[in-house]
Symmetry: C2
Subunit: 338 residues, 2 copies
C-alpha cells in the first residue's frame, strides 16, 4: 500500500524519477531504473489507476456494453476483447444490460459517464436516438461489434453474405422447400442482426424464384428450447414439409436437430439443417454451418480501439470479419418422395 513517494524516499530520489523509471520513459539511467524497479518490487508498490488517471487523463481501461453476458456470442467476444486488452495492459469494465431494457437509462446516464474508461465497445445493440446522442456527447472512441448502429463503425461478419451463402448451399444441393428459423431481439434488447439475416434469406430465395412460405418462417428467439418447439410444430404440421431448415444461429439449429430426432425425421435424409456460428457443439454434432469467430472479432475490435487511443488515425470503415461455410453431415440433397 506504499505510494510513489514511499519508493522515492526509500531511494532518495524524486517521485518523478520513480514514475519515469517504472513506466519505461527515457531520461533515466539504467542503473537508477534498476534500483527503482527493485525497490518498487520490494515494497509492493503499484501505482493507483485513479491517481494516474487524474494526472494523465488516461484510465487504461476499456468499457464493453452488451445485452447480457451469458450467451455464446457475447461471452466469446468478451473473451476476445479481454485477451487483446491484457496484452496492452488495459483493464476491462463490463456493463451488461442483463437481458432487459430496464436499466439502459441508468447505464447510459450514470455508469458509463463516470469517466472510468478510455473507449467503449458496443456489442450487438441498437440504440435509441437519445442514447446515440448521449454516446456521441461522451466522445469516447467507440465501435460496434456484432451489430449495426447507424453512424457508428461496426466490426463483424457480413451478415447479408453469410445468410445468403447458407441459402445458396441448400439451393445448390437441390432444395426448393426451405424454412427459415429466425432469431429474436436479444431478450428485450433490440438489435439488427436478425433482420439482416432474414432479409438476406428472402432476397436469396427470390433470386432463385423460390417461394417464401409464411408458415415456414418460424421463430426461435436465438435459443435452443424455443427453436426446438418451433421446429416441432413445423414438423407436426399437416401437409407439405420443408426439405431444409436454415436456422439463423447454431444454437437454434441444435433445437431443430433435437426436434427432428424426436419426431423420427432423419437428418439429412429427410431434412437438411444449416446454422450460423460454428458453436463448440457444431462439429461434434455434425452440423453444417457458416462459421464466424466471435473471439477474433472481439480482439480485432479492441485492438482497433487501442490503436486509436495510442494516436493512430481512426480507421473509417473496418473490414468485414471472415465467415466460411463448413459442410458437415447435416446437409445433403433432398430425397425425392413420390
Amino acid at each position: 500500500m506504499t505510494g510513489i513517494d514511499g519508493v522515492a524516499r526509500a531511494l532518495g530520489v524524486s517521485t518523478a524519477t520513480v514514475s519515469r523509471a517504472l513506466r519505461g520513459l527515457p531520461g533515466v539511467s539504467a542503473a537508477t531504473r534498476e534500483r527503482v524497479r527493485a525497490a518498487a518490487e520490494e515494497l509492493g508498490y503499484v501505482p493507483s489507476s485513479s491517481a494516474a488517471h487524474l494526472a494523465s487523463g488516461r484510465t487504461m481501461a476499456l468499457g464493453v456494453l452488451l445485452p447480457r453476458i451469458d450467451e455464446w456470442y457475447f461471452a466469446a467476444a468478451l473473451e476476445g476483447v479481454d485477451r487483446a486488452l491484457r496484452a496492452a495492459g488495459y483493464d476491462l469494465v463490463v456493463f451488461s444490460l442483463g437481458g432487459s431494457g430496464r436499466n439502459r437509462e441508468r447505464v447510459f446516464h450514470r455508469s458509463m459517464l463516470r469517466k472510468r474508461i478510455d473507449a467503449l465497445l458496443l456489442m450487438c445493440l441498437e440504440l435509441t436516438p437519445q442514447e446515440l446522442a448521449a454516446l456521441q456527447q461522451l466522445d469516447y472512441p467507440n465501435l460496434t461489434v456484432g451489430g449495426y448502429v447507424e453512424g457508428l463503425r461496426n466490426v463483424g461478419i457480413d451478415d447479408d453474405a453469410a445468410a445468403s451463402e447458407a441459402v445458396e448451399h441448400l439451393v445448390g444441393l437441390g432444395h426448393r422447400k426451405i424454412a427459415y428459423l429466425a432469431g429474436g431481439d436479444g431478450h428485450g434488447v433490440h438489435f439488427s442482426v436478425p433482420s439482416r439475416r432474414e432479409a438476406a434469406f428472402r432476397r436469396t430465395m427470390r433470386r432463385h424464384r423460390l417461394p417464401v412460405r409464411p408458415e415456414w418462417m418460424i421463430f426461435g428467439d436465438f435459443r435452443f428450447g424455443a427453436a426446438k418447439e418451433a421446429a416441432a410444430r413445423l414438423l407436426e404440421a399437416p401437409g407439405d414439409r420443408p426439405t431444409a431448415v436454415f436456422a439463423s444461429s447454431d444454437e437454434m439449429a441444435f433445437g431443430v436437430l433435437a426436434a427432428a430426432q424426436e419426431h423420427g425425421v432423419p437428418v439429412p435424409q429427410e431434412l437438411s439443417v444449416i446454422g450460423i456460428d460454428d458453436h463448440d457443439f457444431a462439429a461434434p454434432l455434425g452440423l453444417t454451418t457458416i462459421r464466424q469467430d466471435p473471439r477474433e472479432q472481439g480482439s480485432f475490435a479492441a485492438e482497433l480501439l487501442l490503436a486509436e487511443l495510442q494516436g493512430a488515425p481512426p480507421q473509417p470503415d473496418p473490414p468485414w470479419r471472415p465467415h466460411e461455410l463448413v459442410i458437415r453431415r447435416s446437409t445433403a440433397p433432398p430425397q425425392e418422395k413420390f
Copy 2:
C-alpha cells in the same frame, strides 16, 4: 464534461454543497438540493470515479477474477454478479485468465493491484501459496464463488452432496454398473470442483458396496466434444457396458447423449445419463440433472461483499447455495439383459 465546480458556479453555491446535494447527504435544504439536481442534469454533470476514489477511498467497483469468460458457469455467474452490482450502483471489472495460466503473474501483480476495485471475487480458481499471500496482502474483502480455496470463504453448492445425490438417484433406480465422466482443470487453470465431485462419486459407490471400475472412469474435460469422444470409446469397448453414466457437468452429459444416439444405444432403456448444472439445454433434451443456479450464486456472492463494504460484519461462513435433483427422461431403471 463539466466538473463539480461548473455546477457550483452555475448556481452560485460551493462545490461542497453540490457534492452533498447529489449524494443525498444531510445538511442541504430541500430547495437547494433540487436546484443542484436540476443543474447537474442540465449540464450533464457526472462525477469522475477516479477523483471520487482519490478523495473518498472508494472506487465503487468490484473485480472478478476467473479462468475464462466463455464457459456456461462463468458467464452465468458473471451475469449474476453484474445484476447485483448494478442494483447497488457499482461497476464490474473483469480479469480473465483467458484459459491459460500464462498471465496469472501479470494479473496478480499488476492489474489487480492497481487499486481499481473495492473488493474481489475469485471464480473457480485454485491459488498458489504465493498468489494467496499476494491476495491477502491486498486486503480487499474477497470471496470465492464456485470453487474452494483454503483460507478463503466460498459461495457455491455443496459439491459433495450434489454428486452424492446423483449417484444415489442412479443406485435407487437399481443401477450397479455406473460410469463416471470427470471434468478437467479449466484449461490449465486448476480448480478443485472436479476432484470433489469425483471423490463423492467414489465414496457413494463404496458406501453401496459397488465397484468403481477404472475403465469406467473417463475424462471429458467439462466439454461437449471431449465428453462425446470419451463416451463413444466407452460404448465401443468390448465386454461389459455400464448401465448408467454420471457426467459431472451437463455439457458433458450432452456429449454422452450424442454418443449414445450415434451408437444406437437407447436412452434411458439401455443407458441412463445424469448430469450436474441444469444447463439451458437440459430441459429440452430431457436430461436428468442436479440443478444449480450460477446466476444466483454470483448475485449472492456480490451482495455479501457489498454488504461488507457498507460496514456489515463479515459473515464467516456463507451457507451452501441450493442444488436440487431434477428428474427427466434420461434416467430409468436398468433393463436387465439375460
